[in-house]
Symmetry: C2
Subunit: 210 residues, 2 copies
């Protein structure tokens, strides 16, 4: 399971039970303000489940992932790719057998995570996306951490061609990201209401990264 | 395109343009309060696109569909199945080649549309779902019109086994549906705010069917 959030733990646990699945891991693409709580609640319900996140993130987890690690589940595996720039510890997970990549906030549908906050760095993000995600086969399906217009998936080809920020040159990208003028989150109090709407209001939610 | 809504016409039109698609039809599973407006806006942008809905619904549309009609698009086709009970004109669309069924409000994920309003009839809905949807191959993916917990798909097998209402006997289902005590929508003014959140608040939205 990728990026569990506290608000949907009950829903997700019910599906896991219905389908008699054995959840072996709650893996995270990066530190959300709600990260520890979401994984923790799921682990209370499924004690064998291990929480995982990039070692670089310095977050608490049962397993600290390094680039190129493989997360095994059943007969399958996810490849861990380091995609910093939104945060230092951002990773994307590639499911080669199924042609899918889970990009967290590094690459969103026709957008990307903000880079003006804490560890954000637009040049680093540009290189991450181009070298680690846009280099995948073009038919790979892109599943981002959220989308504020209700979309759930894209493809590598679509984002290479149509992402209004990332299809440009690196210098243009840096200029775009530097001119976004997003509101700066003043206190962690804002993180909770933002997380309450995770997946709906991108700006708010990404503003709440800690 | 199935069940376009006014709120996402811009988003959907952009994707259609990006992918250089030729949208031939905006088909509808039933009359939403926002139905005419959603199809209308899309037709303004794509004049060749035809709006379609069940003839029984008595709604305005370029094409009035009958049970067992086939909606052709490219090399594919959708089979029209009559699934009344939420409204008289409810249909589900089956995409046999891809193993998908688009159920509107007849069958929701672990739920179903309300039957206590206007043309609603729980016995009719039960028979519709069991004869027209649960009779499909069990691996068919179920895409409902909306889900208030953010889920987007299920399968025929999952709903046959786990739908808390429809897995029961017909008499139990009728009793459950008769005891829901959902708020009655007093005026059409409520339809607009409800449609604004279509796909998020099931109760509100289904309350707004006209
Ligand atoms: Fe996020
Ligand atoms: Fe609806």
């Amino acid at each position: 399971m990728i990026d569990p959030v506290i608000e949907t733990v009950e829903r997700d646990f019910r599906i896991i039970q219905d389908l008699r699945l054995n959840l072996v891991a709650a893996v995270n693409t990066h530190v959300h303000a709600d990260h520890v709580t979401g994984s923790g609640e799921m682990k209370k319900k499924i004690p064998g489940c291990k929480s995982m996140i990039a070692e670089v993130s310095k977050a608490k987890a049962d397993v600290k992932l390094k680039p190129n690690d493989l997360v095994k589940f059943g007969q399958f595996e996810l490849e861990v790719r380091s995609t910093p720039g939104h945060t230092d510890g951002c990773v994307s997970y590639v499911w080669h057998e199924k042609g899918m990549v889970f990009t967290g906030d590094a690459l969103l549908i026709r957008g990307c995570g903000r880079t003006d906050f804490q560890e954000g760095n637009p040049g680093v993000l540009y290189d991450s996306v181009h070298s680690q995600i846009f280099s995948l086969p073009k038919h790979f399906i892109v599943f981002p951490a959220h989308d504020y217009t209700g979309q759930t998936m894209s493809t590598v080809e679509e984002e290479v061609k149509f992402n209004p920020r990332l299809k440009r040159s690196k210098s243009e990208f840096i200029q775009i990201m530097s001119n976004l003028k997003l509101p700066y989150p003043k206190q962690i109090d804002k993180a909770l209401p933002a997380n309450m709407v995770c997946g709906i209001f991108d700006e708010l939610e990404t503003a709440a990264q800690t």
